[in-house]
């Protein structure tokens, strides 16, 4: 261990780079293994697993703005819902039923919603920012409700019938194709986001989160950078929304709700912010636990979920991933 440290001190460029590459490859392998375990362990519950993956994209998108940029938001479902409605409307009203095209439309829809909501939310800071984000999701919700000719209003947008993926894999009743499609989307998105967060732009975002005044003193635009991240985040959330529309073949107003926004933020805090891994762990833990507890005790499940959240926030404030990581680091420190 000591020799490795010596090397890293003398030639940082060569030693640290493969370090994160190896770590990310291991992380990717873990994601694929967990996805495979889910497939074989819960073959009758693939719809829930697919739903979890759709929400995981939303939680990842919140991590981009909250975990990496320090923006407070309780309205991120606006971007998720915008993606879901964009791809749903494209399928129902414009005949775009190729699932990959629907995902692209969803991502673009989410990105456009990101520009709009980012332009509003980024004008505030702290509490004002939080309130603006809540206002935005309510406005999006109301707009979708009123535009019922396109969105189906409170009845939801139904009749979405996606074509087979690549013209080969039809969306089956058991949700196998949908699950495979979802895993592929999450894995690709995750890889892209790992690259983005390590890029010069990602470093700039981390810098803004830690000290925006220093970033300005370096001659960088804080607002422009944050808006750009908001647009990327919107594309990711929109991808999640599109996935939801494709897999459930219906889009409801709940996909644009404050409740979903707040729950997704809770999942992020549960898993841990600013690592992307925490977003995935938080989503899977929260939604699996919620499903498990609500089946086991339909009367008191919300109480149990609440108690779990209090326990995590009080005893593991860095989230499940952050706490796990510090345990590993401490273990390694003791082992040296």
């Amino acid at each position: 261990m000591a020799s490795i440290e010596n090397i890293s001190a003398s030639t940082p460029a060569r030693s640290t780079r493969p370090n994160w590459l190896v770590r990310d490859l291991v992380g990717l392998a873990v994601i694929l293994v967990v996805a495979a375990i889910g497939y074989f362990l819960f073959p009758n519950n693939l719809a829930l697993l697919t739903r979890i993956l759709g929400v995981a994209l939303l939680v990842l998108s919140i991590d981009l703005v909250t975990g990496f940029c320090g923006i407070a938001t309780l309205g991120h479902a606006a971007l998720f819902g915008a993606g879901a409605y964009a791809s749903g409307i494209a399928a129902v009203h414009f005949g775009i039923t190729d699932p990959l095209l629907m995902v692209v439309v969803g991502a673009v829809g989410g990105a456009v919603a990101g520009v709009v909501s980012g332009a509003v939310i980024l004008r505030g800071h702290g509490l004002a920012q939080l309130v603006l984000s809540i206002a935005v999701v309510h406005l999006f919700h109301e707009a979708a409700n009123k535009a019922s000719a396109y969105t189906g209003g409170s009845d939801g947008l139904s009749g979405i019938t996606p074509d087979p993926v690549f013209g080969i894999f039809a969306f089956d009743l058991w949700g196998r194709t949908a699950y495979g499609f979802a895993v592929a989307l999450v894995v690709i998105t995750f890889i892209v986001l790992r690259l983005i967060t390590r890029s010069p732009f990602g470093m700039l975002c981390r810098g803004i989160k830690e000290d925006p005044i220093r970033i300005r003193a370096m001659g960088a635009s804080v607002q422009g950078t944050l808006l750009k991240m908001y647009v990327i985040s919107g594309a990711v959330a929109g991808t999640g929304g599109a996935l939801n529309a494709i897999s459930t073949q219906v889009v409801g107003l709940d996909s644009l709700s404050f409740t979903l926004s707040a729950e997704a933020l809770v999942m992020l805090v549960l898993g841990g912010t600013g690592s992307l891994y925490g977003a995935l762990i938080g989503t899977v833990s929260f939604m699996w636990f919620e499903d498990f507890v609500s089946a086991a005790n339909p009367f008191h499940w919300l109480t149990i979920v609440g108690a779990l959240l209090i326990a995590v926030v009080l005893f593991a404030p860095r989230g499940l991933y952050g706490t796990g990581l510090s345990f590993v680091e401490r273990f390694r420190g003791n082992a040296k």
């Binding site: 732009f201 981390r206 635009s221």
Partner: protein
């Protein structure tokens, strides 16, 4: 030699209180100027006016021949007016290497890239290594800033400013908060600043001022009361009265 930095008749008042009165300063490349003055003399307001954080009531700020008075802080930095902070403003979770790489990439217009890694950019890494070596920070290049000593953070603050290749550098009390034992390292760093860089240092530590500056400007009640050589400043009656007091008497006695 043409002036790289000119402040012309700068005025600013908060309500009825004039905090900056007709300040005019001209600096050439390579100048080493110290700006001193008692508390409340208007030094911070002056820095804020010059860096674009405050708008003057009247007057001009000219940088390398361009009038930047109407510009905000960010474009002024891009044109070469860079400042350091009195209390370090660094990113606790990042390493010195990351700080400097970010600054170099920002200067060269590459922080918008959403793919790629700074360690893969040979020119960035070479420049970062050079800066780390110059400031004696290479042995802690990959440690998190939160874990390094305050004196080293002050040096990183200077390195960060240099990474932006400024034409004019405003150093706001570069040795503030640094333990006495580390002050010589800051002074070595200051002595090693690029020869063509115009440096304006705001400082309370008179020993540092007299060792560093070739010219001293004294502010009192928002106005320049002295602009001349360090040798003359202690002999100036108005300065003695307004600011230096016993220190001036001690120095002239010695």
């Amino acid at each position: 030699m043409s002036a790289v930095f000119q402040v012309e008749n700068l005025n600013k008042a908060f309500g009825g209180l004039a905090v900056t009165q007709n300040i005019s300063i001209t600096m050439n490349p390579g100048d080493r100027v110290a700006l001193i003055g008692p508390n409340g003399a208007g030094k911070t307001t002056f820095v804020n006016l010059v860096t674009g954080h405050l708008e003057p009531d009247s007057g001009k700020v000219v940088l390398a021949g361009n009038d930047v008075t109407a510009l905000g802080p960010v474009p002024r930095v891009r044109q070469g007016l860079v400042r350091s902070f009195q209390v370090t403003r660094l990113f606790p979770d990042m390493t010195p290497e990351e700080h400097l790489a970010l600054a170099v990439m920002q200067r060269t217009g590459r922080t918008g890239a959403i793919f790629g890694h700074y360690q893969a950019k040979a020119d960035v890494m070479a420049e970062v290594a050079e800066l780390l070596r110059t400031l004696g920070l290479d042995h802690i290049a990959t440690r998190k800033v939160a874990e390094i000593a305050y004196g080293q953070q002050r040096l990183l603050e200077i390195a960060l400013a240099l990474a932006l290749k400024p034409k004019v550098l405003l150093l706001d009390e570069p040795a503030a908060g640094v333990p006495q034992s580390d002050t010589p390292r800051i002074e070595v760093a200051l002595a090693g600043l690029p020869a063509d860089l115009a440096v304006l240092m705001i400082e309370h530590d008179m020993d540092l001022v007299f060792r560093f500056a070739k010219r001293v400007i004294v502010l009192a009640a928002g106005a320049v009361i002295f602009d001349g050589s360090p040798g003359d400043v202690t002999r100036d009656a108005r300065v003695r009265e307004a600011y230096l007091g016993s220190y001036a008497n001690d120095r002239s006695a010695a």
